[in-house]
Symmetry: C2
Subunit: 318 residues, 2 copies
């Protein structure tokens, strides 16, 4: 109901008559009044004038499902949204729902996380209302070894969304860091459940620093707002990211991963550089030459031999 009331209020400049809204939604004036107060409690600044009605003065930058869904025109992504003010980790909640057969595209989104997850058991600092913390459940018909392409797909989609909503040129550091001017602003985490032949589901997690000021950032990290004069609408970035993910995902399902790889190469800041790859088994230094269709990084070592890495951390050398 809140989404439908907001739709009325957003549709028109100026005041909207309470009587009109009530009549068209088939609710009483009293019920409408109650819902308006719910919205105020959620942070909406709504003016009310006798004989004129209601008007939204300001909306809070919250990732409410009833704000996200009307802005999307997606067939898969975020048709179902689980929203939390705070939770342990969107990955953890998404996993529970994925096992309980949540449909493809189910979105778990939170305003803050107490145990935000990064790769390899690392933390993701998730202060309230500052960043974007979400997980998406996908059910592609692929084998587990093909899953990496979806990490690349998510990273590409987010760079596209950041560019189109803020103009900022975000870049990708292999495999999944989102950088702005060579500082980390976000990351993608991909988890999967599978048998050897077939993925059951994949959960794509995304953490992105948006309105974080210096105090709500890890040293050496950055946020979108550090590169803008004004605060940024997290809602805009989330919605555009979901749209881009859907477009890229549908294209991938029809045509395979070639275009994702090309886009990734355009956004990436790793290829052509001297890198040190640190995996749990070894450490290799050389030139990052390319990624292959598995999302693996091809590194030409100093001996001239080409090595392929499917996992690990890299350091960009000077």
């Amino acid at each position: 109901m809140l989404d439908r009331i907001l739709e009325f209020l957003y549709k028109k400049e100026g005041y909207v008559s309470g009587e009109d809204i009530s009549r068209q939604l088939g609710i009483t004036r009293q019920a409408l009044w109650k819902h308006i107060h719910e919205l105020k409690d959620l942070g909406y600044d709504i003016a009310a004038l006798p004989h004129q009605g209601y008007r939204v003065i300001a909306s809070p930058d919250r990732l409410f499902p009833f704000e996200i869904q009307p802005r999307l025109n997606t067939r898969i992504m975020a048709r179902k949204i689980l929203y939390f003010e705070a939770l342990s980790s969107t990955m953890e909640i998404a996993l529970k729902h994925a096992i309980a057969h949540a449909p493809e595209g189910t979105l778990v989104v939170a305003e803050s996380q107490t145990k935000g997850k990064g790769r390899l058991g690392r933390d993701w600092f998730s202060p309230k209302y500052k960043g974007i913390y979400l997980s998406l459940i996908l059910r592609p018909e692929i084998a587990p070894r093909e899953a990496s392409i979806l990490t690349l797909l998510a990273a590409v989609s987010i760079c596209e969304a950041v560019k189109s909503t803020t103009g900022i040129d975000a870049q990708i550091k292999w495999p999944n860091d989102i950088l702005i001017h060579n500082k980390k602003a976000g990351g993608i985490l991909t988890e999967l459940s599978a048998e050897m032949d077939k993925v059951f589901f994949i959960i794509i997690g995304m953490g992105l620093n948006v309105n974080n000021d210096k105090r709500s950032l890890y040293p050496g990290s950055t946020s979108l707002c550090e590169h803008m004069k004004e605060g940024i609408s997290r809602l805009d970035v989330v919605c555009e990211s979901l749209r881009r993910i859907e477009d890229n995902y549908l294209f991938f399902k029809r045509n395979g991963g070639q275009r994702i790889l090309e886009s990734w190469r355009n956004f990436n800041v790793t290829l052509g550089r001297r890198v040190r790859v640190v995996s749990h088994r070894e450490q290799v230094e050389g030139e990052a030459v390319d990624i292959d269709s598995d999302g693996g990084l091809l590194v030409r070592g100093d001996s001239g031999l080409l090595d392929k890495f499917l996992a690990g951390d890299i350091v960009h050398c000077r």
Copy 2:
């Protein structure tokens, strides 16, 4: 307590004094009498003579934890056992426990399954007390792409266990079918939960037809007892399988997968044959040349090109 009472009864030929058992276990005669009746209810044939005590005439072939555990000397496998007369699927229950942080080596074992799982969503027919249906939770420090080796490891271990307990030469059809005289007697199912860099856990499922007569077998399948004059102790096969899995697993963790691949080549019935590989994308016919370290099957097509398959079904051609 049942395990300790059985230990006393099994230790000695002939009757064991109830007074001795009670005293040494620190329980009353009445409590002992109650436990003896519990064992009788579970299918144990226990004789009782005044002034002489108790004696086990016959044990049922059940996979009770208190029968399995004293027979093992393992550090990891089956230190924790979840036992069920009947359940949906051992994979499903193991998954729940794996997510709830069950320790490595946790065994889920059932006398029957109502929804036994095979590969690719297929059924595994699981009639009561006839076969072995179990799942093992492993937590190896490997990347998802290395998980296939554990499927091969389980298949090899089961062939070893079948040979040593029954003398039957079981064979492996790529990737994970257990054959006896070219008919299917069992299979391995491997599921994993992982991020791109790191496996969280792997669940190895095993289904093996043991005492199934013709009526409790799918057409074209076989069971161990079809190749023996007598009934087979499922308990012996389970315990030996767990011991072999542990040995091979510890060796793999120390030394890598090379020995598993060699054992697999010895047991396999696929390499060197003409095969048709049917995967969800394609269908290829050629000669099965080898498996590689990922567990992938290398097939030389009629054009002479070598193809690698990580998943799919194969048909052995004439």
